[in-house]
Amino acid sequence: MRSNFGRKAVLVAALMASTSMAQAEDVEVLHWWTSGGEAAALNVLKEDLATKGIGWVDMPVAGGGGEAAMTTLRARVTAGDAPTAVQMLGFDITDWAVQGKLANLNDVAAAEGWDAVVPAALQAFSKHDGNWVAAPVNVHSTNWVWANKSILDELGIAQPTSWDEFVAAMQKVKDTGKTALAHGGQPWQEATMFDGVVLSVGGVEFYKKAFIDLDPAALGSDQMVEAFNRMATLRSFVDDNFSGRDWNLASAMVINNEAAFQIMGDWAKGEFLKAGKVPGTDFLCFRVPGSQGMVSFNSDQFAMFAQAEEGAQAAQGEMAKAIMSPTFQSAFNVVKGSVPSRTDVPNDAFDDCGKQGMAELSEASANGTLVGSIAHGHANVAAVKNAIYDVVTAQFNGEYDAATAAANLVSAVETAK
């Protein structure tokens, strides 16, 4: 019924050439969650808002992990026609807040007590100058390894706990002729592996110094060379056909017994679950060996754009409230594979990997070992993130060796800063 209304509204808008068709009690949501599972998860939110009489005007733009959507957003904002809420990652939120385009959610946040339940590392992005500007939907973490249990059992490989054990395990798999590491050759996927590798080499301290403070000495250090060496090691365990492969096809290789491991964020879990695999029995999830106890995270948030009309502001507030409600957080994240962005959500509905992720998140948050992901724009601004992509992906594809990569990293970051 709703969808019918939506379609008609689109048609009417097209015919009438009306510029802002969103009614005061509607929210217009720009996002790139267009696949079945994600869209189903968003539908939970949509229906929830519908019960409060708030309409949902959908504005999906898929592609490039949100790159196409961000271009659309820029055109919309420049035209003075900003959507109500926009799916956004990390420093993009800060950038828009600096431009003064975001709404102030302090009233809702205070009424709902967000300050107490959202981890500080997330608040760094959801708040700007002490004001809430975005509602975090989930927390993903990137330093995960997904492993095919039957291959490991068959070869008598125990879950590796150190980098050397991990390498030995991959070697064992490779010797049998199977692919040891399933990987898709796209810059962001290589950078995602890099998150875990950097943590495994130098821990949180080195990670922060190099990639959050952008200290040139750390960026060009021997530890960095070692990190690139480990990337080269990983490269040697990847099949020949990796270039350009989508990450979910790499996951499928692990699911279908073609490959033993994949290093990927926890969204990969959704692929395993959808294929009917059970955590612990069919597949294993563990942190990149050497980075146990640390979590590199990224968080999807809905950044709220400033609205002129009071009705729109009210609807926006309701939407923010609905996003942060524990029931939605649980329902959404169970589907999405991530963990809730507030630490007080019961973990009953989650599987073992999800439970582990939730426990490790609050642990890492308490110990100060929760760091923003380099690969997903939670360590630095887009220009720097992409400069790091350039070097990581070039070295991974064999354009230069580890020492050159470290040197290039220093200059690339310097140029982009």
Binding site: G64, E67, M70, T71, R74, V77, T78, D95, W96, Q99, G185, Q186, P187, D240, N241, F242, S243, G244, V381, A382, A383, N386, A387, D390, T393, A394, F396, N397, G398, E399, T415, A416
Partner: protein, 298 residues
């Protein structure tokens, strides 16, 4: 060719103004939406614009940064490889097919739409289809293996040094039929008497084409060159759909470079600087053509 108003009566003067009035909306739109925007881009290239335009002037520093970015040089080199191969191969295939199709071919009516239809598809569709066909895991290589030719290798799209040539293949596939149509039209416009006279003089088929026909096709060559060069410089969608700029950054072109710096890297100033360089290149290519085009009609 021009009609000069001889009578000075009111009606004629009105008739003098109507053409200019008719032209003016297009001209105004052009001045604003093309030349205004180009000036605006030039302005942006001298500012420190990041995510949205800002107007703090930073002199030539964006150009200096651009000059030092290895990614830009990779993109420029790729464009030179891509554009020259693309233009040459398209022209060669287009001309060959047009000449062959012009030999009283039965079924020409069937063949022509087959050659032409790729132009109807968007580059996104082309890129997706070719990405699939050239993927060693599922495409031609896999099919050949399944058909028993185990040593068959075609993995260019996964090879850093060869990937740019896969872009050429897909792009040639898309536009060479269109070029064929232009040459065919040119061939059909040639007066048969000239050809007959040459044949009576004993010219062989080969020299007939080389000496007489091809020189007569000069306008078609020019048109083909203009259309192909502008498609080459603007190539964006095809790269995104076919290789995503990979493996690594091996198939970036200036258009993808500009887009990524402007929109995904929040370095609008550098993006604008690269756009200005691209525009200057286009202008350098276009000016001789425009000059010839305009002079001829005097």
């Amino acid at each position: 060719m021009a009609i000069t108003a001889t009578g000075a009566d009111f009606r004629t003067r009105l008739q003098d103004w109507i053409p200019k009035l008719v032209l003016s909306p297009s001209l105004a739109a052009m001045l604003i939406f093309v030349y205004g925007f180009i000036l605006y881009t030039i302005l942006l290239s001298f500012t420190g614009s990041k995510m949205l335009p800002s107007y703090d002037l930073v002199g030539l520093s964006n150009y200096a940064k651009l000059w030092n970015l290895s990614a830009w040089w990779v993109a420029v080199t790729n464009l030179m490889i891509f554009a020259s191969l693309y233009i040459i191969i398209c022209t060669a295939i287009g001309l060959t097919l047009a000449i062959l199709l012009d030999q009283k071919i039965r079924g020409e009516g069937m063949l022509r739409p087959i050659y032409l239809y790729p132009m109807a598809l968007s580059f996104i569709v082309t890129g997706t289809a070719w990405k699939w066909i050239m993927d060693p895991g599922i495409g031609i290589e896999n099919s050949m293996h399944l058909w028993g030719w185990d040593s068959f290798r075609f993995n260019w799209i996964k090879d850093r040094d060869m990937a740019i040539y896969t872009v050429v293949i897909a792009a040639v596939w898309q536009t060479s039929g269109f070029v064929m149509a232009m040459f065919l039209a040119g061939l059909r416009g040639i007066d048969n008497e000239i050809l007959k006279a040459a044949q009576i003089d004993g010219a062989s088929n080969f020299s007939l084409y080389r000496r007489i026909v091809i020189p007569l096709l000069r306008p078609a060559f020019l048109s083909a060159f203009v259309i192909l060069s502008h498609l080459a410089v603007k190539s964006y969608d095809l790269i995104i759909a076919l290789t995503g700029g990979g493996p690594g950054r091996a198939t970036e072109l200036p258009a993808t470079f500009m887009y990524s710096y402007t929109f995904t890297r929040n370095s609008m100033g550098i993006g604008a600087a690269s756009a200005v360089i691209m525009l200057m290149t286009i202008a350098a290519i276009m000016t001789p053509y425009l000059y010839a085009e305009l002079k001829e009609k005097k």
